[in-house]
């Protein structure tokens, strides 16, 4: 019996060890899951220069940003903005998990550190969550920026809706175009390379952050996200409440506690591996300042609530006693209200 168990374990181990070779073989036949895995890794393997357009589609308007990009693998990137006019000449230099937002007109640099970008374990977990909740299906081949592209559709296993279409460079598997769809089927976000050339000959000077004549400011700090959510909730210092309803496949995946203007704020991110929603709460009744947005009224549990839209992202805010909540995400407004209405003590 013991021998039989060992033989079984041995066979399983052999199967696991052979998995990479098997995946590689499938990739040649365009296995969409293997292509997605290659796409995630391509950014740190290939260097390139190009031009990218990012467009966010709101309910009535769209916002587009156009920039030049120089990327030297594994993690040096410079983006130089061409449009809109208000951003023309601005650039962002990314060096590992630190980014420098450079405004040459104001002679100002904002330095931001994002530890989440180092968290390989969380990235792997979330990729597993994506594959659990979405079926990857090959779509028709495409041609983007003069290169042949393979397209992969991500279909939600619960609703059957296509949530994202990713077009990968056939040779390197780099993401050349990405379209995210709203629940209605309309395009909510598109990223697209207008031009791209793969080259390793990118001079160091492009990634040098200017110092002379610039004032440097540390950007808004963000606590290190943790997937130990029990510990995060304990750190909040108040009895946290959470949603009883989440769309199918959503789980709490990360959280942090941050003091903003001396107000301790708990932030929990829920995701199904592709879509996300954030719940912020504070126990000091610190309201959100919405003056930069067009504010709409709605109801949460019969009480008054407001929401604003920033492209495809909606921020819904409401209060309950001294507790103040913000729910932020790209889900439909009805879905956000439903989640908000289910928020009560965990």
């Amino acid at each position: 019996m013991l021998i039989r168990k060992r033989a079984l374990l041995g066979a399983l181990l052999a199967a696991v060890l052979c998995l990479p070779a098997g995946v590689g073989a499938l990739a040649q036949g365009n296995d969409p899951t293997a292509l997605l895995r290659d796409a995630v890794n391509a950014y740190s393997k290939y260097s390139y220069v190009g031009q990218v357009q990012n467009t966010d589609y709101g309910v009535k308007n769209a916002n587009a940003v156009l920039f030049r990009i120089e990327h030297r693998a594994p993690d040096m990137t410079r983006r130089w903005y061409l449009a809109p006019e208000s951003l023309f000449g601005d650039s962002i230099i990314g060096r590992g998990d630190t980014s420098y937002d450079i405004d040459p007109r104001a002679h100002k640099i904002i330095v931001t550190h994002d530890d989440a970008l180092d968290d390989q374990v969380a990235m792997d977990d979330n990729f597993g969550l994506l594959l659990h909740n979405y079926r990857a299906v090959m779509g028709p081949d495409d041609n983007i920026a003069g290169r042949r592209a393979l397209s992969v559709l991500l279909v939600n296993r619960y609703t059957g809706e296509t949530v994202m279409r990713i077009s990968l460079d056939a040779e390197t598997k780099l993401v050349l175009q990405k379209e995210k769809y709203a629940a209605s089927g309309s395009v909510a976000h598109q990223m697209r390379f207008e031009q791209i050339r793969f080259t390793a000959a990118i001079p160091d000077a492009l990634f040098t952050v200017p110092t002379s004549g610039y004032s440097s400011t540390v950007g808004p700090g963000h606590a290190i996200p943790s997937n130990d959510l029990t510990a995060v909730v304990r750190t909040a210092g108040f009895a946290a409440v959470g949603p009883k309803y989440l769309p199918d496949g959503f789980l709490p995946v990360a959280g942090d506690v941050t003091d903003i203007k001396s107000v301790r704020t708990l932030h929990i991110l829920y995701s199904d591996g592709l879509r996300t929603v954030s719940l912020f709460e504070n126990a000091r009744g610190a309201a959100v300042d919405l003056h930069e947005f067009t504010v709409h009224d709605t109801k949460v549990r019969g009480g008054s609530a407001q929401y604003v839209e920033d492209g495809p992202t909606t921020l819904l805010t409401w209060s309950s006693g001294s507790r103040h909540f913000e729910l932020v995400g790209e889900l439909s407004r009805d879905e956000l209200v439903r989640i908000a209405s289910s928020v009560s003590a965990v």
């Binding site: 951003l87 003091d259 610190a286 309201a287 959100v288 009560s344």
Partner: protein, 174 residues
């Protein structure tokens, strides 16, 4: 057999006054029971109507009464010298000076209705985007650039303080 919440319980639920377990029960029940859902909607509608009515009554003072009030206010206005004499009294001058000092100390920070500062919406939008960093193919992920517009819009006065999650211990909860 399904147990329906009483009207009192529904009212407590609407006002968020139920204990967590009871609150969860009522929420789940309302999701399934159309009869109770209708009662719940009706209670909300009645509350809204009462509130609207109260607000209307507060606003709608007869015009003749308002005119009379304003007339008396204007008649009662003191002279400039009377005003200066009032402001110079220690009982008024000291608290006013203290209020000015406190206002100067807190600068331009907006104090919300409950004494807490308000936090700009851009902070929440940016923090949401930042925490998406580990989500595959997210807009903030490495394949796709950060939106400079959002990064620049965040008020730098709104500096956040990291709370180290590494030190999570049982006594971390104040």
């Amino acid at each position: 057999m399904m147990q329906h919440p009483t009207n009192d319980i529904l009212l407590d639920y609407i006002h968020g006054e139920l204990a967590p377990a009871r609150d969860a029960f009522v929420y789940a029940h309302l999701e399934q029971c159309e009869t109770c859902r209708a009662d719940y909607e009706a209670e909300i509608a009645v509350g809204e109507m009462l509130r609207a009515n109260a607000a209307r009554e507060e606003r709608e003072l007869p015009a003749s009464v308002k005119a009379e009030i304003w007339k008396r206010v204007r008649e009662a206005q003191p002279s400039v010298w009377n005003l200066l004499a009032v402001w110079a009294r220690p009982a008024v001058a000291i608290p006013v000076a203290a209020a000015i000092a406190i206002a100067a100390y807190f600068g331009t920070t907006y104090i919300g209705p409950q004494g807490a500062p308000s936090i700009e919406a851009s902070y929440y939008l940016q923090d949401h985007a930042d925490m998406n960093g580990t989500i595959p193919f997210s807009d903030h992920n490495a394949e796709n650039p950060v939106e400079l517009e959002n990064a620049a819009a965040v008020d730098t006065q709104q500096t956040a303080v990291n709370v180290q999650p590494a030190s999570y211990t049982a006594d971390a909860n104040p």
